[in-house]
Symmetry: C4
Amino acid sequence: MRLDETGRLEAFSDGVMAVIITIMAFDVKPPSAPSLSSLHEVVPKLLVYVLSFTMVGIYWNNHHHLLRATRRMDSGVMWSNLFLLLWLSLLPAVTAWMGEFPGHALPASCYGVIALGAGFSYSLLTKRIIRANGTDSEVARAIGRDRKGYVSLGLYFAGVFLAFVSPIISYVAYATVAVMWFIPDRRLNLVEQANDGNLS
Amino acid sequence: MRLDETGRLEAFSDGVMAVIITIMAFDVKPPSAPSLSSLHEVVPKLLVYVLSFTMVGIYWNNHHHLLRATRRMDSGVMWSNLFLLLWLSLLPAVTAWMGEFPGHALPASCYGVIALGAGFSYSLLTKRIIRANGTDSEVARAIGRDRKGYVSLGLYFAGVFLAFVSPIISYVAYATVAVMWFIPDRRLNLVEQANDGNLS
Amino acid sequence: MRLDETGRLEAFSDGVMAVIITIMAFDVKPPSAPSLSSLHEVVPKLLVYVLSFTMVGIYWNNHHHLLRATRRMDSGVMWSNLFLLLWLSLLPAVTAWMGEFPGHALPASCYGVIALGAGFSYSLLTKRIIRANGTDSEVARAIGRDRKGYVSLGLYFAGVFLAFVSPIISYVAYATVAVMWFIPDRRLNLVEQANDGNLS
Amino acid sequence: MRLDETGRLEAFSDGVMAVIITIMAFDVKPPSAPSLSSLHEVVPKLLVYVLSFTMVGIYWNNHHHLLRATRRMDSGVMWSNLFLLLWLSLLPAVTAWMGEFPGHALPASCYGVIALGAGFSYSLLTKRIIRANGTDSEVARAIGRDRKGYVSLGLYFAGVFLAFVSPIISYVAYATVAVMWFIPDRRLNLVEQANDGNLS
């Protein structure tokens, strides 16, 4: 018994995402003194961490639903998945940067760039999976028009530029994406339920 | 062959908990000199590490037993599990803080806040699993009244406030929880044994 | 149900590679100030990170294809796999070194030494797998002459010494390997397709 | 399909050991300058890292063989496994300490204490597994008298005390254990081969 191709891709992606989450949390360094004012300094870092944690959580959830509906893989799927992991792996550094300099335009803008890169590569992964499974496969029919995905990319794109007007706008844009995705994608859930009899 | 939904949730949670443990141990920095006095300085950090290690070990054990009795999942289960991981991921930072400032009230109190958050989200996870599996499912019947869980929450709650009387009280409260949970939950073990014929 | 021997070796290797990737990304420290000039300083580190990420991605891909075609294992396979992981685990340190001192000969040369060590131990792993599975096994026939592997070793070898002429030559050599391997190994893919009916 | 109890214990242990290896390698900080003398300073750390890597590799190998022969688990097995992971998780800190202060007695002695703790808890794990599986189980018969294990404990024990005569003696003792275990345990291999027909 061994994990099949999809299984190992899921396991590897899970591993990377699990470490990303923990490394980010580790980067929320403990306060430098046992005082309320030191604790107060950590608050922005903590909020940015929760934002990034939610983003990784969303990707984990969606990735999980997407891969469960996937039957066939090829090297295009593998590399676009690695491309997604590359962008996600840069999240801890940009999270630490934005958390250390709240209210500054450049870190807020760069955060959006990384988020945009991750979002774009997730779309690419989706396209590669459809190509590998055929446009009449269940995963292709299930994904359909990815309205939520496009809105997210638009919000990240806005965040990248509007950070230079005010970083607050970017923060609101990024938080909006997080809240919006919090409700998971119903479309793939349906496929999954239909498959449950065959798979589990 | 691939892991099913519960399997992947377990694997991801295991990954996060494995990294948390190792990151915490890594944070017990080596002594700054090769002398007994330097080694002595590390002792409080080491003790706090062992406490936090035990806490993660307890969650791993209970999580494992809980998920093994679980048959159905939904997005509520997934997000409450991520919520639990969010709290646990903050454990390394607060462990480092308490280990660096032993005898101070604020770190000892915050340690309790994180522990309370993890305990609360574990209860939430339990409730979501019961909702997803039905109140007449085996996991629901198995969990029953979670007396141990409520006592733990009470002790953590006490630790949060009594730290300002004396941090020692909090340390004792947290250590009591650890010792108390050391004996694993018999109730779920029974379900597991009953399932062993079907599962393994 | 449990993972078989090959499954656990894959899972462990995946775990190590997942952590390596994330640790390397974490080592691309956030810029020290929220300014363009600080961001600019991070660029060489980022480029070296992408190079190393690609290298680990290549190993993950090839390792995955190799192990999928493997039927039998022994302790020689296990230890040569650990030997490969030992070299890969040194990648974060040498990546950070080369990223911090771009344009210097010694870090560029040492990067090649680590890459050469990883490449050599991968060849060793391949040989041990053939020995364990027999020269007439499908994995042995599939691997055949490993032309790409030998070219890679040659380029790394050149990079180690030509770094002292100019580090740029080494950078070009290492990047060439990355691009060259980007197109995955067709030979093992064929075996895999032939096995798909039996395995998945 | 999900991993069974033994499977999840293996997966979790693998996760912890994978992170330990990578964290230790990460702790071999890159040289502080792009010069030969800086590179030279890293050499002791590198050697100690290779020693500790080998130790974790040995535990991974033996743990893997042991768990594969195990049929039944209980909470005693789980906790003694966590106890083993606790000791192993302290390896990165003591490795960094010994690597930073080569030739000093105390770090060399403490390295032996951690190794002794890990060795002792591995023996404990073995005993708990025999108790859970019965003295007439195949795993019990397979383990038999653990001569190699006792010699290892003796060498670590010697290393702890003789470090104060000369740290060199400890280094030799620890390296001897590594070389001795490098040849895997034939006894469990036999059980495994006998099981191969049933398991894989």
